[in-house]
């Protein structure tokens, strides 16, 4: 289009102006500010001074490495469970049985409702005196008395993970289901004609072909889990005695509850470094997958 050649120079950039403005003011500039504030002792008062690396030294010498380790443990366990249950769920929903359309609709609610509201419900279920889980466990004899799930370190840790898995499983399930349905039927029919069993077809056709989707989903899920705030904050606020304090929760407590913005900013920089490396891995993975099969332009 010859007569549009002149306009071509600036028009696409013009189209990007609104999105870029929002991104710069809400994401890029605040990120830069975080970086800058992490070298200051800024707090409630408007005056602050630069303190060099003091904030970083402080967090390194204190319980912070423990918080990092806990964050990865929490994330690892949660993502592993999500992927396991999600894959099993996708296999089940992929089965050609009557009612499957309805089952697919029924999987989704935990995902579409506000996270906080789902967590309120779990908060009730974890209630020791009157909650459903403690009650059922007593009925069938696993527990001899009321058990307050959120009051003990290990059970609170597991309880927050179970709730996180509950919220994350629908997305993993439907994503992997979509991946399974994009596999050509011809492959299965050819294998079936050759007498391959159902399990063999799953292991040799389904699994290898959805593996890229599993890897992508695991990474996306890890990033979302790493960022998780609502679930832990509502259920335990990071307690009891720090047992559910992940990096995000720790940062929020330091900065917003204790007003130590400088120290909180240094923690945020650490989070950004981790998230940055996840993102890097994600893009490497995507380009690898795209190279392996040229049609996979995901």
């Amino acid at each position: 289009m010859a007569h549009t050649a002149k306009q071509k120079d600036y028009f696409p950039y013009l189209l990007l102006v609104p999105a870029t403005l929002v991104m710069v003011s809400i994401v890029a500039y605040p990120l830069f500010e975080t970086f800058r504030l992490s070298f200051t002792n800024t707090s409630m008062s408007p005056n602050y001074e630069y303190v060099g690396l003091a904030n970083y030294e402080k967090i390194m010498s204190r319980r912070f490495p423990e918080v990092i380790a806990r964050t990865f443990y929490w994330m690892g366990l949660s993502v592993a469970l999500k992927m396991l249950i999600g894959t099993l769920g996708a296999v089940l929903l992929n089965a050609m049985v009557p009612g499957r359309a309805l089952f697919r609709i029924l999987v989704m609610p935990p995902w579409v409702i506000p996270i906080a509201i789902g967590v309120f419900i779990w908060g009730w279920m974890y209630n020791g005196q009157f909650g459903m889980l403690s009650g059922i466990a007593q009925r069938i004899g696993i527990l001899s008395g009321p058990f307050e799930f959120l009051a003990y370190k290990n059970s609170a840790f597991m309880a927050t993970i179970v709730t996180d898995v509950w919220i994350g499983v629908p997305m993993v399930t439907l994503y992997l289901l979509a991946a399974m349905q994009s596999i050509s039927r011809d492959l299965y029919e050819a294998a079936w004609v050759d007498g391959a069993s159902r399990f063999y077809r799953f292991r040799r056709i389904t699994l290898p072909l959805i593996f890229p989707s599993i890897a992508t989903m695991a990474l996306l899920s890890a990033i979302a889990t790493f960022n998780s705030f609502d679930i832990i904050w509502i259920l335990t606020e990071g307690g009891p005695r720090g047992a559910t304090t992940t990096m995000i929760i720790d940062t929020y407590k330091t900065a917003i509850s204790r007003f130590k913005y400088g120290e909180g900013a240094a923690r945020t920089v650490m989070i950004v470094l981790f998230l940055g490396s996840f993102t890097f891995i994600y893009f490497v993975l995507l380009s690898r997958l795209a190279k392996r099969s040229p049609n996979n332009a995901a």
């Binding site: 549009t4 306009q7 071509k8 028009f11 950039y13 189209l15 102006v17 609104p18 999105a19 929002v22 991104m23 809400i26 605040p30 975080t34 504030l37 800024t42 929903l93 049985v97 089952f103 609709i105 999987v107 989704m108 609610p109 935990p110 995902w111 579409v112 409702i113 506000p114 996270i115 509201i117 419900i121 779990w122 279920m125 005196q129 009157f130 009650g135 509950w166 499983v169 629908p170 997305m171 991946a179 349905q181 994009s182 039927r185 079936w192 992508t216 960022n227 705030f229 904050w233 509502i234 995000i248 940062t251 900065a255 917003i256 913005y261 900013a265 950004v272 940055g276 993102t279 995901a298």
Partner: protein, 280 residues
């Protein structure tokens, strides 16, 4: 036949589906049952799943005991709607640029937009708090709308771009030949044709915005009248004696709008939220 199952396979599949759906749906069933039970029945030992005097009383008394409940719901709806509208204003032109035009650094720019998705509001809470404090924006709707908008844009661009690249180029070239301006072409030719894709993006953005209001409202807002539903109810959740039946009733009424949207538009939602699994 390929998809013919033996009887024990049917049993296995339905059993598996039943266990799976129980895990997913049991909390909702429990929440509904709790909302029907009187408090005295809830606080009984040993645990009972149902009580004798079940009623919808909590659904009426909650409006009195949570006086701002209707405000919370309207706020949630309002915030999500504005986030979606502002999001679309950014998403549509940006997605069009990435789908249709060649310009230097296009792919790296797109990559940067997508990378924003990897961060959450929780990461940016400190500088945003300081900035909003500085400009006097705390305790306003704006404080809850702006960060939400930023985080619906990357997914929206990604979704809509993959829809727009499939629209034949001849369409807008014909419009240009007829002398239509580029913005006119976008508004009058591209947007109408891309409407199904825009619907998917709109629903996805709305659900995201409705679901993720908690941390912004918790941090940036302390005026109760402006609180969205999750934070409004959180105040009751944290109390010594929680009025559980009313909390559950209010929660269920609060999620009705999204469930309603979901039931009617679930095809679009699944398409939107799982995009990327099925290759373009």
């Amino acid at each position: 036949m390929l998809h013919k199952y033996r009887w024990y396979e049917y049993v296995l599949i339905y059993f598996g589906v039943a266990v799976f759906l129980t895990f997913v749906l049991a909390p909702f069933v429990e929440a509904f049952v709790v909302s029907l039970r009187p408090l005295s029945g809830l606080f009984s030992i040993p645990y009972k799943f149902i009580t004798d005097e079940m009623s919808f009383e909590a659904y009426f008394s909650m409006w009195k005991n949570v006086p701002l409940l209707w405000r919370y719901m309207l706020n949630s709806f309002f915030i999500a709607t504005v986030v979606t509208a502002l999001g679309l204003l950014c998403i549509i032109p940006a997605a069009y640029a990435f789908a249709r035009f060649e310009f230097p650094a296009r792919n790296s720019l797109l990559g940067i937009f997508i990378a924003v998705n990897m961060f959450s509001g929780a990461v940016l809470i400190i500088p945003l708090f300081k900035l909003m404090q500085q400009y006097g924006l705390l305790n306003t709707y704006f404080a809850m709308i702006a960060p939400g908008t930023a985080f619906v844009i990357p997914t929206g661009i990604w979704l809509l771009r993959s829809y727009l690249v499939r629209i034949p180029k001849e369409l807008e070239e014909a419009a240009w030949v007829d002398g239509a301006g580029k913005i006119y072409t976008l508004v009058r030719v591209i947007i109408p044709v891309a409407l199904p894709g825009i619907v998917v993006v709109t629903i996805t953005a709305f659900i995201t915005a409705y679901a993720q209001q908690f941390i912004y409202a918790l941090t940036f807002n302390s005026v109760n009248e402006l609180n969205p539903l999750p934070v409004g109810l959180f105040q009751f959740f944290g109390r010594q004696s929680v009025v559980w039946n009313e909390l559950m009733a209010a929660s269920l009424v609060g999620i009705l709008p999204v469930l309603f949207v979901y039931v009617f538009l679930q095809r679009y939602i699944v398409a939107g939220l799982t995009a990327g699994a099925v290759k373009e």
